[in-house]
Structures are given as structure tokens and as C-alpha cells.
């Protein structure tokens, strides 16, 4: 906490004892901090903390659209846990999150390593790779919807022309096909973020480490395993936490591509809570579904926290 000392107020030496209450409000460090924090805190309390608490409360009530509802205890939770649709949504969400995150991580890391090589037009290639991340998800999902069309899909057409398949692929009409199709679209959208942030991490690794290891006879794999990977772990932890978090709570892609179908095969917890609460009007039940996501999110945050801790430990005392 050496920075607290460095930041000690120069004005402390000239502090005048008879500050009026008004002057204290304007100059006292803590009051000043409070005034400066006020706009941000106001937004976050009104539109984030309060709704978060309200959501928990609503999940214990039988609120409907237009009626406040009354306390019903754990009824909503008991109902959704026994509901096979909810069980399906939990399975789909976990499957979707796990598979998409693993693939995103593998492809993202691979892409980052490729981009870390020395090559011409590097800046241009990096700029192009980020485009899927810039374009609004819904708009690129619409493009995927068209690519996945049952009769006019360009992918089916190309594969058919090459003679690999005889009939069109029913991308979004079959349970497993649609799961893999939405996972592919999610991976497509998520890889640029992971690749570019990991690339930023890779660029901080000094090339001399690899040179030294290679002189000692290390192979490429050993270089990666014992230099790149350990040095990258903290960034990987943070990036993957974000990735898992946003994949787990994904809504847009599913809403556009399948709307949970066919027959609930791609229903995620987020889309199910929307359908229940907003379209179905059963606010309490929907709130219970979305509150059920919280334990999983806490798990992800814990992973992030331990990742950060390790970084502090790795970089020694200097963690500013």
C-alpha cells in the first residue's frame, strides 16, 4: 500500500481547523470521492443492484405480467426442477457452453499463435479477423440463418456439387444438427475476441526466452508447454471466464437461429426464461430460471479470481 503514502494530500499540512460543514463537503477526501462516484453508483444501483435483488425476490413469488404476486417460497424452484423442459435447457446450456468454450479456446489460441508469427500484412489480417466481433451478433446470426437454410443453403449446395453429400443438410431442423450449427455460429463469433486478447498476451513474452530454450535443445512443443503456456495462464483465465460467462448467458444467437427449437433441442436457460417471463407472462417462474444461472456464474467468477491471484503471485510484489 505504498501508493497511499505517495498519494497523501499535500493540503493536509495546511488544513485549517475551522472548516465549515459546506467546505468539508467540498474538500474532504471521502466526501469528494462520494460526489465523484455518485453518477456511476446511481446508475448501477438503480438499474443493476436493485433489479438483481428484485429478481431474486420475484423468483420466490407468483408474479405475472400486470400483477405483483405474493410470496410462494420455493414453489417456483420446485416446479422448474421437476420440469423436463427446464432439465433439457440446463443440459443444453451446459453442453453448449462447454463444447463452444473448449473449441473457442483451442481455435483462438491456435489463431493467436499463428498471428504471433512474423508475416507480411499482419496488421491487416488482424483487423480482418476482428470483424466478426464488431458486427452486431443479431445481424451476423441472420447471415448464418441464411447459410443454414434447409433448401437454399450455400454449404449444402457446395458439398453437393463436390459430390460429398446427395441431399441437403437439415441444419436447424434436426436436434443434434441444430445444436452443432448454433455452436459453430457461437465459435465463429467468439474466436476473434479470444485470439486477439491472447495475441496481446503473447506479444509480451520476450523472444529471448524461446531462443535460450531452443539453444538448450527444447522442441517447439516444449517451448509452448513450458514457456508460452505458463506465461499466458493469467490472461487465459480471464479471457475464458468472460467467454464462459457470455456463452452461458447467450440469448441473441439462439433467438435468431432456432428460437429454442426444434422441439426444445437448443433451448438455453436464457431463452427459456425469456419465453416464460416475457412471452408467457409468468414473471416469477422466469425469474427463478434466470436466478438458477447465478450459481454457475459465481463459479466462473471464482475461476477468474483465482486466475488473477496467480498473476499477482507470478509477477511478484509489483502488482500495480
Amino acid at each position: 500500500m505504498s501508493d497511499t503514502l505517495a498519494g497523501a494530500p499535500p493540503r493536509a499540512a495546511i488544513a485549517i481547523p475551522e472548516l465549515t460543514a459546506w467546505q468539508a463537503l467540498r474538500t474532504n477526501r471521502n466526501w469528494l470521492g462520494f460526489w465523484f462516484m455518485l453518477p456511476a453508483i446511481a446508475f448501477l444501483v438503480l438499474f443493476l443492484v436493485y433489479p438483481l435483488g428484485l429478481g431474486m425476490w420475484l423468483s420466490f413469488t407468483d408474479a405475472k405480467i400486470g400483477s405483483a404476486g405474493k410470496f410462494v417460497g420455493l414453489d417456483n424452484y420446485e416446479w422448474i426442477i421437476g420440469d423436463s423442459k427446464f432439465q433439457g435447457a440446463v443440459f443444453n446450456t451446459l453442453f453448449y457452453t462447454f463444447v463452444a468454450s473448449v473449441i473457442k479456446f483451442a481455435v483462438g489460441l491456435y489463431l493467436a499463435l499463428l498471428l504471433n508469427e512474423n508475416m507480411p500484412f499482419k496488421a491487416l489480417i488482424r483487423a480482418l479477423i476482428l470483424i466478426p466481433f464488431i458486427v452486431p451478433t443479431v445481424l451476423s446470426a441472420i447471415a448464418f440463418w441464411w447459410i443454414y437454410d434447409p433448401t437454399f443453403s450455400i454449404v449444402s449446395w457446395s458439398l453437393r456439387k463436390m459430390g460429398w453429400i446427395s441431399g441437403n443438410i437439415n441444419f436447424l431442423g434436426d436436434a443434434w444438427n441444430s445444436r452443432w450449427s448454433v455452436i459453430f455460429a457461437n465459435v465463429w463469433r467468439g474466436v476473434p475476441f479470444i485470439a486477439i486478447t491472447l495475441l496481446a498476451g503473447l506479444q509480451t513474452v520476450s523472444p529471448s526466452l524461446y531462443e535460450a530454450a531452443t539453444l538448450d535443445g527444447a522442441t517447439r512443443w516444449q517451448n509452448f508447454r513450458h514457456i508460452t503456456y505458463p506465461l499466458l495462464t493469467p490472461i487465459i483465465a480471464v479471457v475464458m471466464t468472460f467467454s464462459v460467462l457470455f456463452t452461458f448467458t447467450d440469448f441473441q444467437l439462439i433467438k435468431v437461429l432456432t428460437n429454442g427449437g426444434p422441439a426444445g433441442a437448443t433451448e438455453l436457460m436464457a431463452t427459456m426464461s425469456y419465453n416464460t417471463a416475457i412471452l408467457g407472462g409468468r414473471i416469477g417462474e422466469g425469474a427463478a430460471i434466470s436466478t438458477a444461472m447465478v450459481p454457475f456464474l459465481l463459479g466462473a467468477i471464482m475461476i477468474s479470481w483465482f486466475g488473477l491471484q496467480r498473476r499477482k503471485w507470478q509477477s511478484g510484489e509489483n502488482n500495480e
Binding site: 470521492g33 455518485l38 438499474f47 512474423n118 464488431i134 441464411w146 486477439i196 440469448f251 436466478t291
Partner: protein
């Protein structure tokens, strides 16, 4: 790619410190291990956009006829889809809504974030560290678990179906992110500058507007571009809080407007997706570096 320098020494000489040991690999080796996989990935990443553009420019009768015309290319590009979109639908209004909401939310968030980041890094009031940590936690609360209670809150506050429903809720997504980004920038500004100004009798307000903000301009640009993109991209709040078609934002409106029955109007849909993405892509093209630093900065902090 074929015009890359042939001799390894030219490579090392021409480029910066990040060369590493690339010079040990020969060009044929690099083609197999680097360029081919890279090209493949870039192709997959960009193909949907190519497909979007080509579909938006194809005449209607070519769209659903893959046999007589080569689907990958068109010799008779037409602007009829884009024309229909801009002059026969409410698309310009949606685009305007999206822009207005994004800019308003970004401005509000930036003002709040500048004050918050300054207070946390510089005023160091009691509990500043903890408040910083809490703001980071707010970053981890996803809209998908907030939108149900938030819709009742919006209703209570009387904001339902107004642009303010979005302008006031988007900052909850943007403030945590931009506060952390700006904290990183403010920390790099030497404290001595501020001490000097304080000695000379400057107020906190003067220090912030005259010293800190001018020095943090790159950070402000990064934060605002990123915020704009996030707003433009936002879907679940816009879908839940806005009912009237003429008040919707592009991502929401386009979904409901062009899907009449089973016969999707692919040309209009693709044109809508294309026109809706273009402003962001153009903005991005001008500020790539700021963008990357915003993305990586928030993660590195």
C-alpha cells in the same frame, strides 16, 4: 503473400523485435504451418459477410435459384433490396433510433465513468479499492439474468416503450467496462503533475478537465468506440423494453419486419444486416488500434 521477402535475413532486418526465431523456418515450411491454416480461418471468418453482401446485391429471381446461376457470384448486381430497405420501410428510422440511443448511452456512461475512475485512482477515498472491485463485479452481471426484473423496474419508473428505457439501462453494461479501462489510463499519468497543480491552487475539477482528460484522450476514444459497439449490438433489453415498431433498434426491428410467414425475404434481410453493420465497420476501420487496446486493456487490468 507470395511477395514476402525470399531471404531470411531480409525478414529479420525489415521487421521489429517480434521476429523471434521465425528466420529458422523456410518459406515452404511457413506456407504449410502458418499461411495455409491462417488463410483457411480467415476465409471461414469472413465468408458470412461475403455471403451477406452478395445476397444483398443479387436480383430476387437469382436468390432461390442455385442451379441456373452460379450462387457465389452475380453478373447483374442490383440495388433494389437496399433501395426497398431505405425507401419502402422504416429502416432509416430504426437506424436513427439505434444511433441516438447508442450515442446518448455512451455519453452518459463516459461522464459517469470518468468521474468514477478519477475518484478511484486519484482521490483515494476510504474504500476506493473495494468500490473498484465491486464495479468489476458489476461487469460480470450479464443482461440475461437482469432483463426480467429490469422490465418490471422500467415499468415502475414509467420508462417502458420509450428510448429512455434503453438509454438509462445500457450504462449498466458500459460503466463497469469503461471505468476499468479509464482507471488503467489514469494510472499511467504521473501523480506529480497533479501535485504541482494542487500546490498552485487548482481545484479537483480543474485538475480533471485541464490535466487528466487531455492526457487520457486515447483512453476516452477507446472507451467510447467500444461502448458504441456494445450498444449497437445489444439485443435482449431492446427486445424486451420496446414494443412500438417505430421505436425499435435495428437488430430487433429487422428480425420482426422481414420475416413474413414462411417466405423470408432474404434479399431485404441481408441488405438490412449489411446496412446495419456498415456504420460500425467504418468506425472500426478508422480506429482499429483504439479498438484493440480497449479489448485487451479491459482484460489485462
Amino acid at each position: 503473400m507470395s511477395n514476402s521477402p525470399a531471404t531470411p535475413s531480409a525478414v529479420t532486418a525489415k521487421n521489429d523485435d517480434s521476429v523471434g526465431m521465425t528466420y529458422l523456418a523456410t518459406l515452404p515450411q511457413q506456407i504449410v504451418t502458418v499461411y495455409t491454416p491462417l488463410l483457411l480461418i480467415v476465409f471461414v471468418l469472413l465468408f458470412p459477410f461475403y455471403w451477406m453482401v452478395i445476397t444483398a446485391l443479387k436480383p430476387k429471381e437469382h436468390l432461390l435459384d442455385l442451379e441456373t446461376h452460379n450462387p457465389f457470384w452475380t453478373w447483374s448486381p442490383t440495388f433494389e433490396h437496399i433501395n426497398d430497405l431505405l425507401f419502402k420501410t422504416d429502416y432509416p428510422i430504426w437506424l436513427w433510433n439505434t444511433m441516438l440511443i447508442s450515442v446518448a448511452a455512451t455519453v452518459l456512461s463516459l461522464i459517469a465513468s470518468v468521474f468514477a475512475a478519477y475518484a478511484i485512482t486519484r482521490i483515494r477515498f476510504r474504500g476506493a479499492q473495494m468500490v473498484g472491485g465491486l464495479i468489476f463485479l458489476a461487469y460480470l452481471v450479464p443482461p440475461s439474468i437482469l432483463f426480467i426484473p429490469l422490465s418490471t423496474v422500467i415499468y415502475q419508473y414509467g420508462l417502458f416503450d420509450t428510448p429512455f428505457a434503453l438509454i438509462l439501462t445500457y450504462p449498466t453494461i458500459l460503466i463497469p467496462f469503461s471505468t476499468w479501462l479509464l482507471m488503467g489510463y489514469f494510472k499511467t499519468i504521473p501523480y506529480e503533475l497533479e501535485e504541482c497543480a494542487l500546490m498552485d491552487g487548482a481545484s479537483r475539477w480543474q485538475i480533471m478537465t485541464k490535466i487528466i482528460l487531455p492526457l487520457a484522450v486515447p483512453g476516452l476514444i477507446s472507451a467510447s468506440i467500444f461502448c458504441l459497439t456494445l450498444c449497437w449490438n445489444e439485443f435482449i433489453y431492446a427486445l424486451t423494453f420496446i414494443n412500438t415498431t417505430s421505436k425499435k433498434t435495428v437488430p430487433v426491428a429487422i428480425l420482426s419486419a422481414f420475416t413474413d410467414g414462411d417466405q423470408y425475404r432474404w434479399g431485404s434481410l441481408m441488405a438490412g444486416a449489411l446496412v446495419g453493420s456498415l456504420p460500425l465497420v467504418i468506425l472500426y476501420a478508422f480506429f482499429v488500434e483504439h479498438y484493440v487496446s480497449a479489448m485487451t486493456g479491459a482484460v489485462k487490468e
